[in-house]
């Protein structure tokens, strides 16, 4: 019964000419690579901090999915609205969030974006129109509909982007939100990061028909289904989707195939997937791929690439230092912020 629609893919051949087609200059590629490295280091650091007992709670790391975050982030305007879910660190970094305040939030500090109330699963930067990560799978979807509706009613030029996983698409709210968005032509970009699993559930065991993106068809919504580990393809697709949405033609749906390297969260024993599968995906690593491409294309040298990676790590270490030196929230303020 399952028909897999053709997955869009590209190769690294002609990287330079593809860049040109996309009006991307060298600096932009270098910047994107740097941001991807920063995300990777943020996630690794988060894992280490947890192992060292410096954070409690749980967290959902996006290492392996950096091309989606960065390819998307690069196409958005800074005042576009943004909503995502539990696996959200990468998107925020790609949307230029302050990693110090992110790390501080992750460590529950008063200098964090949410003054330590939210933690990893609820980072938001309301002032920057980053309306927050959601701990409820699918929880951001109908909020996005409301934001889209408000933008339409206020005749604003911004769009709203909502990112969610392959698991979220089976929640009822997904359906209600897709229908409303399409019905009213709302300026919403739906981005589904299909990392193959919802926790331990493989997408094929959870979804009656694949690809997920074809569901958009049922609402008459435009859709794309792409290799999410291919930075240029993500950029290209998102740019087109963002333009379509911004020009008032209604919502667009993009599904990106990708993979997470870490376990789902801290409770994961990783029994539901094989080392082989993980290794196979690691061979498709989005950072390695873009790094090789820009080095091969002569945009930067291998040494410079290594330097950039190290700078990213240093920035993350500085963020940890910032966070560690930040005060805890005052316990006497625990009852604040419930009501406006």
């Amino acid at each position: 019964m399952k028909t897999v629609e053709k997955l869009q893919k590209t190769s690294n051949e002609d990287f330079k000419s593809r860049m040109e087609e996309l009006d991307l200059v060298d600096e932009q590629l270098v910047e994107m690579f740097a941001t991807m490295s920063k995300i990777r280091h943020f996630e690794r650091m988060a894992d280490r901090l947890y192992a060292a007992g410096k954070v409690h709670g749980t967290m959902h790391l996006s290492a392996g999915q950096e091309a989606v975050a960065v390819g998307l982030g690069a196409t958005l305007k800074s005042d576009d609205y943004f909503l995502n879910h539990h696996r959200g660190h990468g998107h925020f970094i790609a949307k230029n969030a302050d990693i110090n305040r992110m790390m501080a939030e992750f460590m529950g500090k008063d200098t964090g974006y949410c003054r330590g109330r939210g933690g990893s699963m609820h980072i938001a930067d309301i002032e920057a129109n980053n309306l927050g990560a959601n701990g409820i799978v699918g929880g951001g979807l109908s909020l996005a509909v409301g934001v889209g509706l408000a933008l339409q009613m206020q005749r604003m030029k911004q769009i709203v982007v909502v990112v969610f996983g392959d698991g979220a698409v089976n929640e009822g709210i997904f359906h209600e939100s897709m229908n409303m968005a399409a019905l009213w032509n709302l300026p919403i970009l739906f981005v589904c990061e299909n990392n193959q699993y919802s926790m331990s559930m493989h997408v094929e065991r959870a979804t009656a028909k694949l690809p997920i993106a074809q569901r958009a068809e049922g609402y008459g919504m435009k859709w794309h289904y792409i290799d999410g580990n291919d930075l240029l393809l993500v950029y290209e697709t998102m740019r087109q989707a963002v333009n379509d949405v911004r020009s008032g033609n209604g919502p667009v749906f993009v599904e990106t195939e990708t993979y997470r390297y870490f376990g789902h969260s801290k409770s994961d024993r990783n029994l539901y997937r094989t080392k082989e599968e993980i290794d196979n995906w690691r061979r498709l690593d989005p950072i390695t791929r873009v790094r090789k491409a820009i080095v091969d294309a002569g945009i930067i040298t291998e040494e410079r690439a290594e330097e950039i990676d190290q700078e990213a790590l240093i920035a993350i270490e500085a963020a940890v230092e910032f966070a560690e030196n930040s005060p805890e929230p005052d316990v006497n303020t625990v009852e604040e912020f419930v009501y406006a």
Partner: protein, 328 residues
């Protein structure tokens, strides 16, 4: 003062606020030409047009979620949930999202929205269209719960609710829509969180909401003739609850009865009684505090059974007499 119905009072609050503030819009099912299942928004489409009287597909979860999203970015939606029973389809959006956004994000967001919903039995609508679920809502920090019993209160409280920067659940009662009362032409607001002493009396304090207020007042009239003076308090806002007004009253009367249509077990009467139990009024009690509430059953369809399921005037009278005659 002109007399208008409860439904008209609500409509006029919405209309006035929509004229005053362009961020306000009405959002829900069949609220346009049809005017909502109970005709509350009847005619508003003509004045405000389909963009501000925004009719939705049947998608209660997305209605509440989208209202919250719109509120986060500067709009002031009034979402209508056709029957309160259907708020159960949107509890995630209300409780996990709307109520918590501000707190989770460290006080940086706010969610100024109203969800209007008719509660209550008495129309023969049976188990899935007759519930009084306000007691679930008062347990949710981050929202307010408002529950007017008269046209005057409905209008003044709805204006406050729309202007409130927090999510407000505004609970109406189906049997009240056609009841009439005086409502001034001039704008007035009733602050949230302030109870109203609907009748003064020195013998017993009765706290009641919704349709139970007028029932209690009728009984109070009757008992008044016999010299039993019932003080009737309508909390109007159930969250936050105006405990002080109740404490003050109980200190005076020494007796407390709480009445609601909602099922007894787990109902908000427990909240009132527990609040009084640990308040200074406790020492003034001359009789055990009691609850008179809906039976712990779904609402039945048959008219007689439906009648028997919730407190009627006779029950109220009997209960008051029983408490008055207790001494301990």
């Amino acid at each position: 003062m002109p007399e208008i119905t409860y439904a008209e009072a609500i409509r006029s609050a919405m209309s006035e606020e929509m004229r005053r503030d362009e961020r306000v819009f009405l959002f829900g099912e069949d609220i346009g030409r049809y005017g909502g299942a109970f005709g509350v928004s009847f005619g508003m489409l003509d004045e405000f047009g389909p963009e501000r009287i925004k009719e939705t597909p049947l998608s209660e979860a997305a209605i509440v979620g989208a209202a919250a999203g719109a509120a986060m970015v500067g709009m002031r939606p009034i979402a209508e949930i056709m029957f309160m029973d259907f708020i159960l389809l949107a509890m995630e959006q209300l409780v996990n999202q709307a109520a918590k956004v501000r707190f989770m994000f460290g006080g940086k967001a706010s969610v100024p929205m109203v969800i209007r919903m008719p509660a209550g039995s008495g129309t023969g609508a049976a188990a899935q269209h007759s519930q009084s679920l306000e007691s679930l809502l008062i347990h949710i920090p981050g929202i307010k719960v408002v529950n007017p019993s008269t046209p005057y209160d409905a209008k003044g409280l709805l204006l406050s609710s729309i202007r409130d920067p927090n999510p407000v659940c505004f609970i109406e009662h189906k049997l009240l829509y056609k009841t009439k009362g005086e409502v001034p032409d001039e704008e007035y607001i009733i602050p949230l969180g302030v109870a109203d002493v609907k009748r003064e009396g020195g013998d017993i304090t009765v706290v009641a909401n919704n349709i139970m207020v007028s029932r209690t007042l009728k009984v109070a009239e009757k008992l008044g003739v016999e010299g039993i003076e019932v003080e009737v308090i309508d909390p109007r806002t159930l969250l936050p609850l105006d405990v002080d007004t109740i404490v003050k009253s109980v200190r005076k009367t020494g007796r407390l009865l709480v009445i609601h249509e909602a099922c007894k077990t787990g109902g908000w009467a427990g909240e009132v009684i527990a609040s009084i139990a640990s308040s200074p009024a406790f020492d003034y009690l001359d009789a055990p505090m009691r609850r008179l509430a809906g039976k712990d059953i779904p609402i039945p369809y048959n008219r007689n059974l439906e009648w028997a399921a919730i407190p009627q005037e006779d029950d109220i009278e009997a209960e008051i007499r029983a408490i008055i005659s207790t001494k301990y």
